[in-house]
């Protein structure tokens, strides 16, 4: 990312992804819901 002059650290990448999620609220709600479902599936009682 030297050409664009952007910092390429992990925290910067997370910030970028978060800002892209903020621009699409439906996708943000969807990912939160899917993470919730995944947590239930993985850590729920068996």
């Amino acid at each position: 990312m030297q050409i664009t002059g952007k910092n390429n650290s992990i925290s910067e990448k997370i910030k970028r992804i978060y800002s892209m999620f903020l621009n699409d609220k439906l996708a943000l709600i969807s990912i939160i819901f899917l993470i919730f479902i995944l947590i239930i599936a993985i850590f729920g009682p068996s």
Binding site: R16, I17, S19, M20, F21, L22, N23, D24, L26, A27, I29, S30, I31, F33, L34, I37, L38, I40, A41, G44, P45, S46
Partner: protein
């Protein structure tokens, strides 16, 4: 399980919180069954998508890169798989063999493979003509290195976008198979099986089919919205649509 609470209506605070969404015809908590159904449904869908993406992607990469007889053979294989209605094929296979978890995953993965094969091949046909591939060839890189080090990383974002969308399709396919009675068998439970079991009680206990159906709908909808977002994010030409406003907010 509490036989006194058979077909208990939802949204009642008179009993344990586990019975908040009601109980089924045998007095089993709907919340508990939904959670176990989530585990089975997610496991089946995730495994099937992962398998079909891996094998379909690799076959598509090889088909596109090598072309010729190998490429044609792989594409004809994809045509043969696509020529059968996938649900019918799954019904026949599961009817002949044991309708267990592994067989269900294998059948669903097999029927979804052609999509990845064709997409990967189409991507490779374009990428293999680029200069960096020619440079790798001139440097003496092996075929495997060129395919997996230089070409595959450019096809993976497309395959991931398709996989997200396909996850919903596989989930719905599994639900349809369970609904038809050839998917997961009781006492195991999936959302599709819960809908099938609740069908007999629709007149007197609507919640038995409604809540698992709602879960299927919400997860499929979420996956579709997420894949739409991913499609834009992974496309360098369109990514600015999401980045622009995000930068203004900072």
């Amino acid at each position: 399980m509490n036989l006194r609470l058979r077909n208990l209506a939802p949204f009642s605070f008179d009993h344990n919180m586990m019975y908040f969404l009601g109980a089924d015809a045998l007095g089993r908590s709907m919340i508990a069954r939904l959670i176990i159904g989530t585990q089975n449904t997610m496991f089946i869908a995730a495994s099937a998508v992962l398998l079909s993406m891996t094998f379909g992607g690799v076959l598509g990469l090889m088909s596109g890169y090598f072309g010729g007889k190998v490429g044609n053979f792989i594409m004809r294989l994809a045509d043969v798989i696509m020529s059968f209605p996938s649900l019918l094929l799954a019904v026949i296979v599961l009817y002949m063999f044991d309708p267990g978890l592994i067989n269900l995953v294998m059948v669903l993965a097999f029927t979804r493979m052609p999509i990845y094969m064709r997409t990967a091949r189409a991507e490779v046909l374009e990428i293999r003509e680029r200069l960096f591939v020619a440079a790798a060839v001139s440097m003496g890189a092996s075929h495997l290195r060129i395919i997996f080090k230089h070409i595959a990383p450019l096809t993976i974002p497309t395959l991931i976008t398709i996989a997200t969308l396909d996850f919903a399709f596989v989930m719905l396919g599994e639900s349809a198979l369970s609904f038809l009675g050839v998917g997961i068998q009781p006492p195991e439970v999936t959302w599709g099986l819960m809908v099938a079991q609740g069908r007999n009680y629709l007149q007197i206990a609507w919640w038995l089919a409604f809540f698992p159906g709602l879960m299927i709908m919400l997860v499929a909808l979420s996956l579709n919205l997420l894949s739409s977002w991913l499609r834009i994010v992974l496309d360098p030409i369109q990514r600015w649509r999401l980045e622009d406003i995000g930068d203004k907010n900072e």
